[in-house]
């Protein structure tokens, strides 16, 4: 089970998925809008997930 935080919805939940891509599909997360952080490290979409990983979907922000 992976611990997930979705910043846009300010939502924490647990989920199961073999990699980040599958997790994003399951949670219906738009790949154009987020950067993905796994255990405090920026993660590529094809990265495998392990039990008790922490995954954060942080919104892309572009103001200045």
């Amino acid at each position: 089970m992976v611990k997930v935080f979705i910043e846009k919805e300010n939502k924490k939940l647990n989920a199961e998925a073999k990699d980040i891509e599958e997790l994003m599909k399951k949670l219906n997360i738009n790949k154009e809008e987020v950067i993905v952080v796994r255990n405090n490290q920026l993660a590529p979409r094809n990265e495998k997930l392990n039990d008790s990983d922490e995954v954060k979907f942080l919104s892309v922000i572009s103001g200045g």
């Binding site: 790949k31 154009e32 809008e33 950067i35 952080v37 405090n40 490290q41 920026l42 590529p44 979409r45 954060k56 942080l58 919104s59 892309v60 922000i61 572009s62 103001g63 200045g64």
Partner: protein, 289 residues
């Protein structure tokens, strides 16, 4: 050493700092606070912004009512000259584009713009030549990242943004992001080790993330969405405009730029803007370059 630095010089080497010049691109919330802090620390400045002050800028930027409709770069320069007469300030009232990128030449560039397109333009010019810091903010969230390799390490080609959106930034977020960025800037200018991780704060929740980014050692070619159906691409290579203008129906031809049909603006340095085209057609088009 002038009196104004006699306390701060016990913390940082003012003799070195006073000889340095930083370019700030964008003088909105992040840029105006960043410029103020650097000016107070005795750093010379190049200030770049094509925009003029609007009434809605007053709550989160350093401007006052009498500045409305004036160029942000000029107003900031005048204001900071009064704050610190010891520094040199150059104001550039231009939008950064592929033809004027040499205005970035300095000891360090700080990106305080509000769009990925300009950010990747900075990336293309500074890549392994000039150190630069990426900053951005929205509402109560802010981010600072010293770009050691390329910004494409952080923003993959999947990422897109709606540039036509009106962004709002709480002024406390802006001043915090500026403080973090200027601290890193001082370290870089003094040749000291700087933060390698991306720093991301939410000032409302008091949360602070440090995110490790592994530089890929290369640059991606990205198709970046601009407003409406316009896209930009940087091929990071010199193009032969004579060959291209012979190959495609050319609307306009100058030394460093050509415009071909339907409407593709091609710069000699590999920076291209596609107007009114979809991503798939652009991908097909790029195969021939």
């Amino acid at each position: 050493m002038i009196m104004q630095y006699q306390r701060v010089r016990k913390i940082i080497d003012m003799e070195v700092l006073r000889k340095k010049t930083v370019t700030i691109v964008g003088l909105g919330s992040l840029g105006s606070f960043t410029a103020l802090l650097l000016a107070k620390n005795g750093v010379n400045l190049n200030l770049i912004d094509f925009d003029r002050v609007l009434v809605e800028n007053l709550s989160s930027q350093l401007y006052s009512g009498k500045d409305i409709k004036k160029y942000k770069a000029e107003v900031t320069a005048e204001y900071l000259k009064k704050i610190n007469r010891d520094i040199k300030i150059k104001a550039v009232n231009e939008r950064l584009n592929s033809l004027n990128m040499n205005i970035l030449d300095s000891d360090l560039v700080i990106d305080c713009t509000d769009n990925l397109d300009t950010r990747f333009l900075i990336d293309s010019y500074c890549y392994r030549r000039i150190p630069w810091i990426h900053t951005t903010a929205l509402k109560t969230i802010g981010l600072v990242y010293v770009v050691d390799n390329s910004l494409s390490d952080l923003y993959s080609s999947d990422i897109s943004e709606d540039l036509c959106d009106e962004h709002g930034i709480l002024n406390t977020t802006a001043s915090m992001v500026a403080s973090m960025a200027v601290t890193q800037a001082i370290k870089i200018l003094l040749g000291l080790p700087h933060e390698r991780d991306l720093i991301r704060v939410n000032i409302w929740d008091n949360t602070f993330d440090k995110i490790r980014i592994n530089p890929s050692g290369k640059r991606e070619i990205r198709i970046i969405k601009l407003c409406r159906n316009n896209y930009s691409v940087n091929l990071h290579k010199e193009l032969d405009l004579n060959i291209l203008s012979g190959k495609y129906e050319t609307i306009l031809k100058k030394d460093n730029i050509i415009i071909v049909k339907p409407k593709i603006i091609i710069n000699r340095n590999g920076y291209i803007i596609f107007e009114n085209m979809d991503k798939d057609s652009i991908k097909k088009w790029l195969r021939f370059l």
